[in-house]
Symmetry: C2
Amino acid sequence: MTYCVAVIVNDGIAFCSDSRTSAGVDQINTYSKMFRFGIEGNRQFVIMSAGNLATTQGVIARIEKDIAKLEPVNLYTVNDMHEAADYLGELSLAQQAKTGGGNAYTSTFIIGGQIQGHPPQIAMVYPEGNHITTSKDTPFLQIGESKYGKPILDRIIKPDTSLHTAALCALVSMDSTMRSNLTVGPPIDIQLYSSNSFVLGESYHLLEDSNYLKQLNRAWNDKLIEGFSTLPPLQNSAPAPTTNP
Amino acid sequence: MTYCVAVIVNDGIAFCSDSRTSAGVDQINTYSKMFRFGIEGNRQFVIMSAGNLATTQGVIARIEKDIAKLEPVNLYTVNDMHEAADYLGELSLAQQAKTGGGNAYTSTFIIGGQIQGHPPQIAMVYPEGNHITTSKDTPFLQIGESKYGKPILDRIIKPDTSLHTAALCALVSMDSTMRSNLTVGPPIDIQLYSSNSFVLGESYHLLEDSNYLKQLNRAWNDKLIEGFSTLPPLQNSAPAPTTNP
């Protein structure tokens, strides 16, 4: 499996993805699931993927080819993020159709970034080719093994969260996921995009033996255990139910 | 949906279940998913269920009937927890067969407790009727919406964790799940069982407006936010990858 998350705040967008790919237990490999496209000063996109690796690679190759061939519709000609997401959805459907369809060949994508004249945006593109974006109340999108890492995002992320804090929260969300699910693993890619910069911001590539990743993992684990140890002990708020026969 | 968790430690077993049941968005109701059976001094069982409510109720009714009718095989005659789990699995299959089978009618159960002459044990009974127990490394079982609440269990629960701490951790796991998933909700039932007591221990029944539940929710939220705020800022451990064209 996979875990990717994009968080959008007023300051910009933080993208975070793992790199573990499995096609059966004997074929566990490492592939980055983050792809970057852009024209400085005009538009920037980051795409992340979850699902069938061949479909993903086929889609990314088509995006590159369409740009190189100056096709009328490509990531550098689309007018806004909805068109970009629609385009990505069409490529995904076309790629799936090549394999005759079927659930085994689907991929889900997150595309985010900004095009001149528009605000920064992120969208999730379903295997069916349609897509959703975010709202002020849900300023993040997740694909893959999304449940383990959702609670911390729900607690921390607000529209006025700083971009670095959003990225750190995405990484903590990734850390929780990796701890509970073996199919998600390093290296971890993080990409920041600052609103209205039209150039990619800082990026981080954290390997399995990254000292920082270990330090963060330990610090978060310690904080959780420490915080847990101070919680109020169990108390009843109502009479205990009558027991069964 | 549902979330139930049973944690087994040296001191005993902590059971925790939610009470939200939905059969379509217009039919959200409250049913306890925790059922208690036992003979003081001889055996105690707690059963929790996730899945089809009719199947669950059918199975629980059959358990009660088999006990009342003194059927040769019932919860009060089985020799060990494996037999108890097998018996539960058979009832579940029989109940599903009545509706013609199909995924919509399946239920998954956790059964735990202790029978004289045996150590305390918990088992998860799959809709197919088979079951698994725990190991020293994985001293808990979850059914229903299990992913949101798994990270905290992974971090806190060890065999030598106290029974009260195990129960509190189960409740925090439930709190995280309720915050991230609307289909899991109060009242929350908690049942403690102390090893070799052969009598049910403390139980807690926490209603939606429980002051303790609110206090715990707030305390945990504050601790997480506070702990998060002290984490080391993002650092690279390797050169940034080259960006795509």
